[in-house]
Assembly symmetry: C2
Homo-oligomer: 359 residues x 2
């Protein structure tokens, strides 16, 4: 199945994907401007379900790489990711027939759609993280058997770097990160050239349409004067675990990542409680008064308490009233195989993963 | 013209090239062990004069990249540079027909010969620096019109990174350096695929045979109980500007480079004088009591006062008695075009280049 993406869809996807991005995946507003401009210039934007991919199609994963904080200050040119795909095409001697989103983040969902439009190929309704994650070895296309090479990293000045062989997914992450940092902290990335069959079995399916539905639910509730947070809880099957005010944000740009933590003081029924959310581009762990409330791969999203607008880490500031939502991760992320790469210990937290909703 | 390189030649080249390497270009002993092992395993090592290169041959520049201090602690596997050439060959769809040395340093002269043996192609009697320099934009193949892309950077674990497009030679340097640092501080490099005609007109010619003659002169003098330093002065047309004792070595590994300075206190006729030599992998500027004695692209070489053994920056230590020699740079390095890249100002020294010998 395939369908056209409209300008209204883009707005909804930007909002919904920023929610799934759990703080990372790039700024949704910038991603929206870029994708909308392409639609307005007359390009087509088409989504295709995993089942709709031809078995032998060449599918290439694409997205932006770098700290969200950087993309906010160093605007992309808009050709980086398409250039990365072209670099792989040149190396493989074959054109990509579909784009698979790297992650479902506020910007990266729309970047994938933009690349699809630029190259005139459909974009998979699914992605490689089912949310956003900070590092490349956390991509399900790799976790479930894809090769970490070749991959291409490009910048806005026309530099193209191809990783034609890498030892493993961790080497891919380290080398591509070093190049990204040298580029100035943001790069276009293309990786995991795969067949349609491989993309279908390795992706987190349906996340583009989930982002669309979540975004639409928020917008509909705002228009209908209903509670947008309640609407998003319902459509995503998530729960609200805290409501509070941001009283502190520590944010450092370290080794190409935005690292830090957000401290919330409880409001209403949560008065007197404190929640601290640690992030590395994405929110990784939330602790209430020192006890683990939720941890990766659970999706820990901070949204504005009134509008349900998802808050990416680069916009967090003192004084915002936010709800902390826990969204259930895709089962693709909670297998033993996947938890090795995206579980708490992969991020240095000495706790076992337990779904936050059941705490 | 082409000729075979013998095991005895390798020893002489190691010594002579370490002299031309002016402190950098890698440790000659390690390079010698590696190249000698290949000869002993039965591989052929052949040199070819610039005039002997077929006009349309594919010539690829190869060498090791990184701080000499690192290669001394992290031994290479020995396939890195050949792998880099193979990466370019794969990209270009064509086999290299000759190897052009990156620089004439203690290790990199022998590395080029090793790669030639590994790939069974001859090695150009000439190089891209006429000495050693720390950065890639200082390569004459680039200075005189070669394209900075494609280039390949590889490591001992089998990682291969191809820079398929770079904005300019400075971008090549920065991106390749970032990858080299991520690899652990040492990498194999292949760059500037060019025709035989281009290699002939862009190289510093005759430096491999110059290294061979200088090394042989030193060895012959040692065997004949003559002064090896006098012998090397004669064969290289250089002059001794100072004799002293190393009283201090400052050496830091900064951004992938060995940076620092060596302080010498004068002996004999130089008693009471102090010479400070600053280096970035290679010796860049020598000052006597604060006044510039010599500056790049002049070759500032430190050799053991008794044996004339050239001293690379990673072996400098308190107490060594050394002579400071000034070797004249190739005219290829002193054109207005070349001085933009390898003159004093390219290294941040606010002085004009004046040949040190005529001071």
């Amino acid at each position: 199945m395939s369908w056209q993406i409209s300008e209204a869809d883009l707005c909804s996807i930007a909002t919904g994907a920023a929610l799934l991005g759990t703080g990372g995946g790039g700024n949704p507003y910038l991603g929206l401007l870029r994708a909308r401009e392409l639609l307005r210039s007359g390009l087509r934007m088409q989504a295709v379900s995993p089942e709709g991919l031809p078995d032998d199609a060449l599918v290439v994963c694409a997205g932006g790489m770098g700290a969200p904080v950087v993309s906010w200050e160093k605007l992309p040119r808009g050709e980086e990711e398409a250039d990365a795909v072209r670099t792989l095409e040149e190396y493989l001697g074959r054109r990509a027939e579909a784009i698979a989103p790297l992650e479902m983040g506020g910007s990266n969902s729309l970047v994938a759609l933009a690349v699809g439009a630029q190259l005139d190929v459909p974009v998979l309704d699914g992605d490689g993280m089912g949310r956003a994650f900070p590092e490349l070895q956390m991509v399900t296309y790799l976790i479930y058997g894809g090769s970490p090479a070749p991959a291409a990293v490009t910048d806005e000045k026309g530099n193209r770097t191809l990783l034609s062989r890498v030892r493993d997914a961790y080497a891919l992450e380290r080398i591509a990160r070093a190049v990204t940092i040298e580029y100035g902290g943001h790069a276009g990335l293309a990786m995991c050239p795969m067949t349609g069959t491989e993309a279908r079995t390795r992706c987190v399916p349906g996340t583009l349409s989930l982002a669309l539905r979540a975004g639409q639910a928020i917008e509909d509730a705002r228009m209908g004067s209903r509670d947008p947070v309640e609407a998003v809880l319902k459509v995503t099957g998530s729960c609200r675990v805290f409501r509070g005010k941001i009283v502190d944000v520590e944010r450092r740009l370290v080794s190409g990542f935005a690292r830090g933590q957000t401290t919330l003081e409880g409001l209403g029924t949560h008065a007197g409680e404190t929640v601290v959310v640690e992030f590395q581009n994405e929110n990784l762990i939330a602790r209430r008064d020192g006890e683990v409330l939720a941890v990766v791969p659970d999706l820990i999203a901070l949204v504005d308490s009134d509008s349900a607008e998802p808050m990416t880490v680069e916009v967090l500031r003192y004084g915002f009233r936010v709800d902390v939502l826990l969204l259930p991760p895709s089962p693709v992320l909670t297998t033993t195989q996947a938890l090795r790469f995206v579980g708490p210990r992969a991020f240095g937290y000495e706790v076992d993963y337990r779904p936050g909703q059941r705490l």
